[in-house]
Amino acid sequence: MSRREGGGHHRPEGSGFEASAWFFMRVSGVVLLGLAVFHLFWMHFVIGVENIDFNAVAGRWEGRWGPLWRMYDLALLAFALGHGVNGLRYVLEDYVQRPGRRLALKSIAYVLSFLLISAGAYIIFTFDSGGV
C-alpha cells in the first residue's frame, strides 16, 4: 500500500483488484456512514440497550415494516463485514511479512467471515418468533 501523508492511501494504479478494493472501501464507507451510524443511534438512543430483548427483535422483524428492516440489516451486515474484512486484509499485508503466515492468516479471516455472513444472513431470512 502506498501510504499517504495525513492518512489514507493513494488510489492503486489501473483497474485491477486493488483498485476495485480501494474504490469499494470508499463507497462502502459512505454507505456505512448512513447505515451503521443510524443503526447505532436508533438502537442505543431511541430504543435503548436495556429495552432490547427477544420481543423487541420480533416486533422489528415481524412488524409492518419487517421486510424492510430485514433488508436494512442484511445490507448493513454485508457492507460492514465486507469493509471490515478488506480492512483486516490491509492490516495483515502491512504487518505480516512471511508469505506462508500471511496466506494462513488471510485464509482464516476469509473462512471466519464466510461463516459469519452465513450465520447472519441465515437468521435474518429465517427468524420466526413463533408468535411469542
Binding site: G6, V30, V37, E50, D53, Y122, T126, V132
Partner: protein
C-alpha cells in the same frame, strides 16, 4: 504489496511523524475493534435461532455496568472511524497531496465535528452506565 514495510508490533504506538499519523493509527485500531465487535454482534443475533432464553442470556453482557462502559468505547470507535474516513475521502477528492495546510484545516474540522457529536452522546451513555449501577 510493493513497498516492504517491516514493522514489528512494538512500533505500533511510536509516533512516526506526519500530521495524520496518529489519526491513521487510530483508524486502524478502531477498525479492528469494530470488526471484533461485529463478529460478537453477529454471534449474539444468531442466538435468536435458539429461542428467547439463549438470546437474552447473552444480552446481560451489554446491559451490565461493564457492558454500558464498553458501549461508550463502541460509540467512540464508530464515530471516530466514520468521521476520519469521511475526512480521508474529502482530502482525496478535493485536495492535492502537497497542500498540507488544507489537510491540517480539514483535521481541525474533523475533530470539532467529532467532539460535537461524541461528547453529548457519551454523556447520555454515561448516564445509562450510572443507572446500571443502581
Amino acid at each position: 504489496m510493493s513497498q516492504p514495510t517491516n514493522l514489528g508490533l512494538g512500533s505500533w504506538l511510536s509516533y512516526r511523524g506526519g500530521s495524520g499519523y496518529l489519526l491513521w493509527a487510530l483508524h486502524r485500531v478502531t477498525g479492528l475493534g469494530l470488526l471484533l465487535f461485529l463478529a460478537l454482534h453477529i454471534v449474539d443475533i444468531f442466538l435468536l435461532s435458539f429461542g428467547p432464553e439463549a438470546f437474552e442470556h447473552l444480552l446481560v453482557l451489554y446491559t451490565s455496568p461493564p457492558g454500558r462502559l464498553m458501549e461508550i468505547f463502541l460509540l467512540f470507535g464508530v464515530l471516530f472511524h466514520a468521521v476520519n474516513g469521511l475526512r480521508i475521502i474529502v482530502q482525496d477528492l478535493f485536495t492535492k497531496s502537497w497542500e498540507r495546510r488544507r489537510h491540517d484545516r480539514l483535521i481541525v474540522v474533523q475533530l470539532v465535528v467529532f467532539l460535537l457529536i461524541f461528547l453529548p452522546a457519551a454523556w447520555i451513555m454515561f448516564g445509562s452506565f450510572l443507572e446500571s449501577l443502581s
